[in-house]
Amino acid sequence: MVKIRIDDMEIQAGEDQTVLQVALAHGIQIPHFCFHPRLKVAGNCRMCLVEIEKMPKLQIACGTNVREGMVVLTQTERVKKARQAVMEFLLINHPLDCPVCDQCGECRLQDYSFEYGKVECRYRESRRTFPRMDLGETLVRDMNRCIHCTRCIRFLRDVAGQEELGLAERGGHTEVGTYVEMALESPFSLNLAEVCPVGALTSKLFRFKARPWMMDRTPTLCPGCSRGCNATAWAYRGKLLRFTPRENEAVNRCWMCDFGRRCLDRVHADDRLTWASVRGQRVTRSQAIAALSALLEEARRAGTAGEVWVIASASLTNEELEAVSRLAREGIGTARVGLLAGQPDERAFGPLDTPLSEWFIRKDKFPNSRGARDTLGIEGQETLSALLAARPGSCAGLLVFGEDLGARLGDLAAVRARIGSVPWLVVADSQRSPLSALAQIELPLSGFAEKSGTYTNEAGMAQKLAAVVPAPGEGQSVVSLVSELTRAPRDLEGKGD
């Protein structure tokens, strides 16, 4: 530990820390663009220049290590003038297009120009311009707005381990790009939209949909795989518009993969199962639940309740799975409970210096495999067809709970063949699928963004999932479905609401 002083504050700091790290940890604001806590230091924006006693020149706080007895001044006239100069330099070629820029509201350049900039502009020359560059499916590059901080390049090179972006040309003509206009192929490309402190790299998935300050932010989880990345869900007027990573050192640090961010596509997708149906006829949810209740009652009377199969997917929360388990064992009286989940992945936490995807993205695309296995006490199979094939024997009826089953059916013909011999099929799902098309009764479920509960990730961490937007139509969680089902009076059979 060394003792240093920043302005009026005496601070004990670690020997390998930089002035900027120490200042930020103690609430002292030193403006910075190119510094990112998880990227290598570049020292190129020159915004964090501070005065250090006994050093003739101003020094960059991000690249200067603390030393015993160091005295750092962050508020002197010299420092303020240097900051103002850097702001002026950054702004002379920056377009004043904040009103149509997607970064507006979360732009560091915008924030700092209010705080450290000047009102008048001394630049009388024409601004330099670049053609817009399409970086593929996820990002648009607007080089006119770029401040050349190279955070994007450093993220891809040092964190993701992919050298897809680089600098071309020199001086004021320096361009960040993929050299021959190639598309970015990194599975982490959308992180660049956040790593970029300005509007030079914006997400094609989110552009022009809403202003950040108008949106509701809810801490939640990514449902994309068993990693369980912590995310912030951004919703505007009941619509989920984007995911951004939420910092969690133990799980995802501060990154998220593109696959996970795209999971929100299915929240407002056209294939959402919003209304209940019985034999293809739209009915109210209560009517459908009553119809299901009648099927179960019939099985009970016929003495075949123990032959009813209940299958749950590992996309359900622990609470939902618990409800399914109780429904099967206590409500129906069957031990034939199946789980639709991915195989366990042994590479739970790899070393951090391998390419990010190795460490990060899980093959198991169910968010709650571990929780499901723990809750139901059974191992899961890969797909529904595999599950059905693995359990021969008579089946009096099939009740399937799942979220987005369509993607996880496996061999559809095998499923169809097996379903053909089953007296009845009931599917509760958030999306319509080939399976739900075969069902006598369809029940709408809420999707991951519409329910709260917990997912247990591959490492055994139970993390909280939050309801971000209301479920469309009559969608409900499995917990509420099961409670309605067990409450449904048997003598009301057929009468509905």
Binding site: N44, A82, A85, R128, R170, G171
Partner: protein
């Protein structure tokens, strides 16, 4: 003081670049001598001779070598800075073309002193002849046993490679040179860590200029006292001055450190072309602040020029006579720096380009009164705020031009045109 030639003594001899002649003239004796000493003794001898870096900064070479950590488990390297890109400078290429063995011998001694087994000579890409001659000379030296494994039975090994650059001014900055030598985009690194601690491929590295290293064999052969006696205190030896511009006999001259600038212009170079009046002199390459005709009675050494607010730099003297438009000269210089800025850090990338645009506008007759304070203010905002000295290298001379020739700049603004008449072509008319 007898005017002795040290580096240029062999330049005019036939086949001066071949090993045979070099050895006949006493070449590689310094290398043999060094091998009979310890590395510490070599550093002490170079330190005793006040050999200051001839690349421009004037940092004592022996001191630089002594910064290399003695105990470190990484390979150490020597990089020879032969990326001679400073406008007005053309000294290193003559050494490489006409006496390459002097450089190779000096570099080998430096390797021995710092404990490096490998040296890279980073040569400016356009210097095709220098590259060819160096490669030939290295092959000759290797064959003769002056380079390679177990040199002259001493157990010391030194390998040397020529690394051609791709023609970027910025790669003459030592950390950008290292980046480029590693195969990356030539952009300066932030310091600290300094190259002496973390340099080429992460190992401790010394970067020395061609001219600097070429003095080293002579210092070992003839002693520090001989070397120091040739110049003023703390500015030992001779210096290669490349004089260009409006003098009667432009060219490369080797003169003792501390020779008066006026004497170089009027005695050595025969005065101003067509006996016109002198207007300005850039004393040490384009990045050094310009001197007016009244300031030329100055000793050409590091300390004397620093005293009057300029620099010895690389010794590239650019002479401007009375027919030169200083606004155009400044605009041309600023254009060069804007073009050569690597674009990495904000003040240089944006500020230098801005300075260039404003100067072009003034020269084009569209200047405003507020442009002159603006130029000075931009220069203030660049200087000292950048990663490497390229920002300063533009800010300092431009500030000097505006301050020392303010009347001429004001006339451009007032008359809304170039007061020297319309632009024809090139520098002179």
């Amino acid at each position: 003081m007898a005017e002795e030639k040290v580096l240029s003594a062999r330049f005019l001899k036939k086949d001066s670049h071949r090993l045979q002649g070099y050895v006949k003239d006493g070449g590689y004796e310094g290398w043999k001598k060094a091998l009979s000493l310890t590395p510490e003794q070599v550093i002490e001898r170079v330190k005793a001779a006040s050999l200051r870096g001839r690349g421009g900064a004037g940092f004592p070479a022996g001191m630089k070598w002594s910064f290399v950590p003695k105990t470190v488990n990484k390979p150490k390297y020597l990089c020879v800075n032969a990326d001679e890109g400073e406008p007005g400078t053309f000294k290193d290429r003559y050494i490489m073309e006409l006496d390459p063995h002097a450089l190779i011998e000096g570099a080998a001694i430096a390797c021995f002193a710092i404990g490096a087994a490998v040296a890279y000579i980073y040569v400016r890409g356009e210097f095709k002849k220098s590259i060819a001659r160096l490669e030939q000379a290295i092959a000759e030296a290797r064959e003769a046993g002056f380079l390679g494994m177990n040199i002259l039975g001493s157990g010391v090994s030194v390998e040397m490679w020529v690394h051609p650059g791709a023609g970027a001014y910025i790669c003459g900055e030592e950390t950008a040179l290292i980046e480029s030598n590693e195969g990356h985009r030539g952009m300066p690194r932030i310091k600290p860590p300094f190259p002496a601690v973390v340099g080429l491929f992460g190992g401790p590295t010394v970067v020395n200029n061609v001219e600097t290293l070429s003095y080293v064999p002579h210092i070992l052969n003839r002693g520090a006292e001989w070397f120091n006696a040739m110049g003023p205190e703390k500015n030992g030896g001779t210096k290669l001055f490349g004089v260009s511009g409006h003098v009667k006999r432009p060219g490369l001259y080797e003169l003792p450190m501390g020779t008066r600038l006026s004497s170089i212009l009027y005695d050595t170079c025969g005065g101003i072309r067509k006996d016109r009046k002198l207007k300005a002199v850039i004393p040490g390459g384009s990045s050094t602040p310009v001197l007016t005709a009244d300031e030329i009675d100055v000793a050409m050494d590091f300390d004397s020029l620093a005293k009057i607010g300029s620099m010895l730099g690389s010794g590239g003297i650019i002479v401007l006579d009375e027919t030169t438009c200083v606004v155009r000269a400044a605009a041309r210089l600023a254009h060069f720096y804007a073009h050569e800025s690597c674009g990495q850090c904000t003040p240089c990338r944006e500020g230098v380009a801005w300075v260039s645009r404003v100067l072009e506008r003034i020269e084009g007759g569209k200047g405003r009164e507020e442009d002159l304070p603006l130029l000075l203010s931009i220069c203030d905002n660049i200087q000292g705020h950048t990663i490497c000295p390229l920002g300063d290298a533009c800010a300092m001379p431009i500030r000097a031009f505006v301050q020392k020739f303010r009347a001429e700049f004001e006339a451009h603004v007032r008359e809304a045109c170039c007061t020297m008449g319309p632009y024809v072509t090139g520098w002179g008319r």
